[in-house]
Amino acid sequence: MPNRITRRQFAATVVTGALLATWQTARAQSGFLHWMERWNERVERFVFGSERLAAEVPPGETTPTEDFPSYFISDTVPVAPAGWALKVGGLVARPTTFSLEQLQQMPRTDMRVRHHCVEGWSAVAAWHGVRLRDVADIVGADPQAPYVEFRSFDAGYWSSWDRASALHKQTILAYGMNGLPLSPDHGAPLRLYAAVKLGYKMVKYLTEVNFLPERTGGYWEDQGYEWFAGV
């Protein structure tokens, strides 16, 4: 009989504990959710294959451009400042500024992959541009820099990435979409595009790429969205 009560108390404790753990803020800055997010990030890094490629999607499944959503945080479509150029710096041997023409003269990569938005929708477009790994080679990115930060002229929108995802074969600095030059609502003149991250990680309206010793969060990440956000 005493044994039975102990078991019942044990069960009650576990259930109460589970319910109490759920009764806290949903911002995940501390406590249970924060701890679980750190655990999930380790799992995400574990399942990420740095050589694994996302499937190319057949042209017939391309989303009509007008149905492909485009988000920015500025009040109106951000317009590139005069004399726009991309600055690549941080822990690099040769900090370099690239004009669009210089990037377009580098080897071009084309890919048609599925886009996954954190909201749940998917869409397909063909993107072309230059691999970030090629840019990293040119500037001599320090192999010790584990993070890459992307900055923009869209009201300061930014995001930081793990190095492996940034240097993935399907992570490009894109200057074209569906065979045309990038339009202003999709990030002209240059945006980050990747097959291995959620949409909010792919910074549009790029101004800077920095190889860094530590992660620097991001616009949505600092408000509570997952930092790793791999797909």
């Binding site: 759920t22 499944e61 969205y225």
Partner: protein
């Protein structure tokens, strides 16, 4: 021989051993929170099918679930809850299945087609008022065993389709089972619908037999 085997097997065993009770109530709490956070996530894009090519067969496109069924405040919060509690739901399920395997509980809980089909049909006929008396009942009748087995299959499909939505590129091979990312989203929501249907029927049935609710707290008499 069969009778002796059965008597010794269940001798001293409660109808609902403590681990079954524990995992059952954990499951109730976790499933409610998973459903609520899942619907909060779904509210961010309450449609099925890719952009520009929504599925024609889904009748509730662009209709978000009502606020009272959602949990997690906002999209990011609901995602944190969903991806945190998912682990515990799976752990709880593994614990339940392991217990059933080790203690032989599956024999009196799961649907074994050769043993239970006839019984399930007789029970169905009884529920349809075509037969006056129910077939003799062990712990569960055949129809219950069928329901409790099918719901385990649905739960497994929920976990697998959820993993595909979480990592559609890394787990592309799993995605093939569901027709890719958008297919997995549709299956994941359909699975929630079926689990809800199961829960509704289950609730009606246990309210018609309140002793079953009590037993899920106390464990019931020793056999």
């Amino acid at each position: 021989m069969e009778a002796t085997d059965r008597e010794t097997r269940w001798h001293g065993r409660r109808a609902q051993p403590w681990l079954i009770r524990l995992t059952h109530w954990l499951n109730v709490s976790l499933l409610l929170l998973m459903a609520g956070s899942g619907l909060q996530i779904f509210a961010a894009y309450p449609a099925l099918g890719p952009r520009g090519a929504l599925y024609g067969w889904y009748p509730w496109q662009e209709m978000p679930p009502p606020a009272w069924v959602r949990f997690g405040d906002w999209l990011a919060g609901a995602r944190h809850w969903h991806f945190a509690l998912g682990w515990f739901l799976v752990l709880n399920g593994v614990l339940y299945l392991s217990y059933m395997a080790v203690r032989g509980e599956w024999r009196r809980r799961l649907f074994l087609p050769r043993r239970d089909t006839r019984d399930a049909l007789l029970m169905l006929v009884y529920y349809l008022r075509l037969r006056r008396t129910p077939p003799p009942i062990d712990l569960y009748n055949g129809l219950q065993r069928l329901a409790y087995s099918v719901v385990l299959v649905i739960a497994t499909v929920e976990v697998l389709s959820g993993l595909v939505i979480y990592k559609p590129v890394q787990l592309w091979w799993l995605g093939c089972l569901f027709g890719g990312y958008d297919g997995a989203r549709a299956v994941h929501l359909l699975g929630l619908g079926l689990l809800t249907l199961f829960a509704a029927v289950h609730l009606v049935m246990v309210m018609l037999h309140p002793r079953a609710i009590l037993t899920m707290f106390t464990g019931g008499k020793h056999a």
